[in-house]
Symmetry: C2
């Protein structure tokens, strides 16, 4: 089970390998939000998203024997790149199973980072879990789950350790901390880290409309599932439901979820570019969108939002920026 000791151990293993990302701000964002806004720029992490933290934690925390045999991951893109680079840096093979319709940039990057990419058809006969089970059996690979894996949650929690330390330097001890939430690995990890190091902060997951499984699960007290489409603008965080491991961690620590529209996500991407000079992908902009446009649902004078990734295809990004 993930706890603060595992997060601190992950932070030790991460030293010199995982970037400390900056906590940025702009008076222009404060004005829109009506309170102080800080943005944890995880899009500047290696491979362009926080996922490298969890991947590094998992690879560095495995037994050398298991690691040497290679790792396997399912991912639409950011976890894929994180695992690919962490494996490459450890000198071990990575096999990544990705949907055919994942963003082209994410597929190309995963391959360029040395991983073998196996594409599957979301609507096809063979499910990705079946493909994975076959490859695991054939090759002796260790599966690295994207969020329901204690070492991965611990790695994402190192982001929370940094938030606590960076906020303390600015004399901020109390804040609403908004996370971009898919399966809940980042949200769970940060909430464990802040519980120990910044107990007056409250973590609140943000999700896009139609994919608000975590918000509904926190409200009902049980794991809820999305019933809408499988694909959408915020591709990085469209998991059907919170995880079996991440949900209890979140349920015990996180405040009500926040839900934003795709138009708010696009507007937040533009503000991140104009005000912070950050390229943020749709799924990485939901927390900032909630900070900027859902102030009525927030408490206190300070909000911290994770900008959790920046892997957006150039065409879509140019389209979002041009729509200003």
């Amino acid at each position: 089970m993930s706890d603060i000791k595992m997060i601190e151990a992950a932070a030790q293993r991460a030293r010199g390998h995982v970037r400390h990302t900056p906590l940025l701000s702009s008076p222009f964002l404060d004005e829109i939000a009506g309170r102080r806004v800080f943005v944890k720029a995880e899009c500047l992490q290696h491979t362009g998203s926080f996922k490298f933290r969890g991947a590094w934690s998992a690879l560095s925390g495995m037994t050398p024997e298991a690691r040497a045999a290679g790792v396997l991951a399912f991912s639409s893109g950011n976890h894929a790149q994180g695992v690919a680079l962490a494996a490459q840096l450890h000198g071990v093979p990575a096999t990544i199973i990705m949907p055919e319709d994942a963003p082209a940039l994410k597929i190309a990057n995963t391959r360029a980072l040395g991983a073998e990419v196996v594409l599957y058809d979301r609507a096809g006969r063979e499910k990705r879990e079946e493909i994975g089970a076959r490859l695991q059996a054939e090759r002796g690979l260790t599966l690295i789950r994207p969020y329901d894996e204690p070492l991965v949650i611990a790695g994402q929690g190192t982001c929370g350790l940094e938030i606590a330390a960076q906020a303390a330097e600015l004399d901020v001890t109390k804040a609403e901390v908004l996370t971009c939430c898919g399966g809940g690995g980042l949200t769970a990890g940060i909430s464990l880290a802040l519980e120990a190091h910044a107990p007056e902060m409250r973590v609140r997951p943000a999700e896009p409309e139609g994919f608000d499984d975590t918000a509904r699960s926190l409200a009902s007290g049980g794991i809820e599932t999305n019933n809408g489409p499988e694909a959408g603008l915020c591709d990085a965080i469209l998991t059907p439901s919170p995880g079996q491991i991440t949900f209890p961690i979140m349920a015990a620590r996180c405040g009500p979820g926040l839900v934003v529209s795709d138009d708010e996500v696009r507007a937040a991407m533009r503000e991140a570019a104009t005000r912070l000079k950050l390229v943020v992908e749709p799924g990485g902009a939901v927390a900032l969108a909630a900070a900027l446009y859902h102030g009525g649902a927030l408490d206190g004078d300070t909000v911290i939002a994770t900008a959790s990734g920046g892997n957006v295809d150039a065409g879509l990004y140019a389209e979002v920026l041009a729509a200003a």
Copy 2:
């Protein structure tokens, strides 16, 4: 005269006010360049460019009496915003004289940061220096020059102190350090800082074609002037010639200048977005363009490029990204 003591004093005054910007990298950029590439992300500085360093140094280094009367600056945009915010944070008035055709974003931001903006027509009868002299006399303002001012050079030099420290952490002591060069404030400041703290690094100014006054001045040994058009893609760095104070500093310390095309600048802007998740403006991308596309003119296995600003109008930026 600027020296390392002035830079270190500026760094002391900057503590808690000026951001330490990250030194970023990507294996994809290393591959393009054929050597290790590090990017000093000054676009993440307050107001979106390194100019805030010099402005903060100047405001914090003035006598309180002079400061209270207010400051004046000429600028097409980045120095304007830096001075405006530094003045606002010191609680003193700022008057900024800007060309009418400066990027709309830069004019709007300068106003939003509390400065009084006086627009002038580049082709008009009254020169900006005349407008400035009139306002100085009327209001008792202190002029903060964008580069030919020892306190400003010292402030820009704090960027060099950070580069030396960040590179040392990565065990890099020898590198070519490419700067985006207009009047030479950043280049001169960094070269003084590295001479003291990383003497095996060599600073080399990068400029756009048609505005290579510094490269030609370093080659001839005397101050040369651009004879082409006044405006261009890289608006932030289109000064007609290196400064009277900055040039001797550069001439004694900097290697041959590098000259890049506008197409190379656009390509570097796209790589910064895709690989580093940084929004870099044209004038802030010339050093990266030189690092990526002029490798034949560089020595050694490591290059460090400043990404000196990110204040680009959304329309132009979307156009550059969409052209990929």
